[in-house]
Point group: C2
Chain length 216, copies 2
Amino acid sequence: MTTPSVTAPAGHPAEPDRSTGAGPGPGAAEAPRGPARRDAEATKAAILRAVRHLHARHAQADITLKAVAERAGVSAPLILKYFGNKDTLFAQVMSFEEDAVALLDAPLADLGRHMVRHVLVSQTEQGADPVLRIVFAPLHRERGETLRTNFRAQVGDRLAARLSGPDAGLRAELAVSALLGLSVMFGIVRGPHVRTADIEDIVERYGPLVQAQLTS
Amino acid sequence: MTTPSVTAPAGHPAEPDRSTGAGPGPGAAEAPRGPARRDAEATKAAILRAVRHLHARHAQADITLKAVAERAGVSAPLILKYFGNKDTLFAQVMSFEEDAVALLDAPLADLGRHMVRHVLVSQTEQGADPVLRIVFAPLHRERGETLRTNFRAQVGDRLAARLSGPDAGLRAELAVSALLGLSVMFGIVRGPHVRTADIEDIVERYGPLVQAQLTS
């Protein structure tokens, strides 16, 4: 519910109704200050938030660079400067590689709690979510299948490789299921209780459920 | 993975890539037999599957009765005969009322396992899911907010009312989170392990996680 300065969640799928999606949304409120006042990382983050926002509402083929630029409050040439071309830009949204590194960055014994905390902190502080965009796969037809394939390999299989014991693949999918559901509840359903509870309270309640799949 | 005769999952969000979505999909394979050979309930179910399929890919305002009819393999007048008008038809997709009744139809002590089983059986046997369509709320702009409001009241609040002890609202949302995640993993990610595992195996592994929120 907090909206930190540059990383306001306006461009996130979690926040679809605060803006019409036409033209710069609340996330573009920084725009008048001009890109010169942002550092490159913040600008890239704003562009990626804009892409993710649009990716939750339109088939990828229908998303123009201009629409991304307007929503991010930057110029289209600036996007090209940072990302090369539209394909490279969308590749960032289609890949879960970097997200998985951060999501799984904890010792196995504490991984359940870490993953729950990471999802909640990402949504509240970065206005982004490491896994939620997979739910929009049906929108993107054949590209949705790429999204699925990436997700399974980069998140599911990578987690499974960390697990010992039988049925590691199934247990990894069930642990990821629990995380995905929390992402949906927080970011899409916007459940009033999960959105107002203390993050550590949710970590305490929900982390063990995830962990039970990992080390049981 | 099974495709029972009339209730094939073709019209479900879970199955977006088996069909282009243009014209009758695999779910319409029954069409040549003609509506006269179906009973009314099966026809209604086919129409609702078609609506749900399209609702996962297009803003509601862009979905025509003709597109629903084509996908369901029925005529538009037949849809009107069963549902009155387009608004009544979409109201069925926007409401979780009937789904919640079936989802929550178990004693509290066994509710976690029942809900997990219900989600999996619905996906595999009816080609539908009681809760999954909430994830497409961002597609539908202001109608998405109706979907959210309905979901919170009809599923979350109703479950919370069954719970005793502190933080019933938060615990209900966390239990529903776990279910939603399983729906997403099965229906959208199409995790190969959850899709091939025995349903009762998943119920045994995942049911207790849901139950822990309900009766802990």
